[in-house]
Chain length 252, copies 2
């Protein structure tokens, strides 16, 4: 499925304004103002001025919060977003409720304590962001993330992303273990014109004690689509479609 | 959500032709011709003549199979359907691959060996059929069953049914254990205008050795709907809607 642009000219706009450049400008700008986020539950709250506000919005990090403050705009960053700006882009410092700076190890442990799947979801988020995808919560579609090839104002999200752990951890609380769950997910993805992307994380025997393990995790990507027999019968006119389907069929 | 009838006059047609009567006619007719089904994998194959064919179709049991035979129509019955006709209505006999009649215990054990969740799904199927719902496979919506208040030619299915076991059996391979699964299911149900009906089966400490245990299982029904804050604020005009929502909110 090709990206579904929102209206004429959106594709050209996106091409002229690559996401990699926006994120790099954001990073530089946050470093310049020595940005500090405040840990609040699982989120990080960040107050910025106009320049950073525009870049956060264009890069699609966090969501703006309405406050009474006039000269500052507050943003609420999700755990993976905050950790990406903090640990990967190194453009954000983070302060805990005790007013002390958190180091990488402390923040990692804190996020893990709030969200058990954080090492996996963080790896998946980093992986997609590094490829210049915009990654947002997928909760309204019952998945972990949705991924956009550019800003949501220009294009619909292309992928519904489920993050699975490859480990046999005895904890069966994971998605796609039952056919009915599979059918439900695929059907929903189809009805909202998204492709289901399953990102499985293999920890390769490493624990998740510190964030440095992120580099030792490996990733497999599977695209899962419906098998449509009509498109897969031997027939001149459909052979092209068939090949297309089969190359997409990762897991099924 | 009220039943969504298909076109004008459908509701009147349905009212004039109650499902309880159709099923009772079917039962009488199958007994008269001493109907025998053949066990084939998880299904039961049944050859019938015009009268039974019409009644099976009107009562929505099984699906017709196209064969070369002209004077007989074959039907393929799912495991719960076959067991309902066999055990509850006692209007169908069933013959195994060895050409011998199966008794209730043997058939129960056989179905269980083919489908581990059979005792639960069978109880749920019986429960809904006894209330004169038409119960069909829900696989295309990623649920166990869909339930119609009358024939699918007259009305859209009203409920998407998930059958859950109340037992703590250590096997976590069950639906709705994760929020993302919940969101996915609710969203899909909403987009196809069905209400999610969760049927939980409590075995009350009884095993599932023989079909007589079906009577000892108890059932809880929960309707699960989205919580829409806008509809639940204190406001004269929405109070009615609010009350409606809350009485429907079983699990959430």
């Amino acid at each position: 499925m090709a990206p579904r642009w929102k209206g004429k000219g959106s594709e050209a706009k996106a091409l002229a304004d690559p996401m990699s450049k926006i994120v790099s400008q954001l990073s530089t700008s946050l470093i310049q103002v020595d940005a500090h986020g405040l840990l609040s539950g699982c989120s990080v709250l960040l107050a910025v001025e106009t320049e950073q506000m525009e870049l956060l919005t264009r890069g699609c990090f966090g969501r703006p919060i309405i406050t009474a403050e006039k000269d500052k705009q507050w943003f609420q960053l999700g755990p993976e977003e905050a950790f990406y700006l903090f640990y990967s882009l190194k453009c954000l410092k983070i302060v805990g409720e005790d007013n002390c700076h958190k180091n990488a190890f402390e923040l990692w442990q804190y996020m893990k304590s709030k969200k058990a799947s954080f090492p996996d979801s963080c790896k998946a988020y980093f992986h997609l962001r590094m490829k210049n995808w915009i990654v947002r919560s997928g909760s309204q579609y019952g998945v972990d993330f949705v991924a956009y090839c550019h800003h949501p104002s220009l294009v619909h999200s292309e992928y519904a992303v489920l993050v699975l752990s490859e480990e046999e951890n005895g904890d069966m609380n994971e998605r796609l273990r039952l056919w009915s769950d599979f059918h439900c997910t695929i059907r929903l993805c189809g009805s909202v014109a998204k492709t289901l992307l399953v990102v499985s994380i293999n920890k390769n025997g490493h624990g998740a004690v510190s964030p440095s393990c992120l580099e030792r995790f490996s990733i497999k990507e599977h695209i899962v689509t419906r098998w449509i027999p009509e498109l897969s019968r031997e027939d001149q006119s459909t052979t092209e479609k068939e090949n297309q389907m089969q190359s997409q069929t990762g897991l099924l």
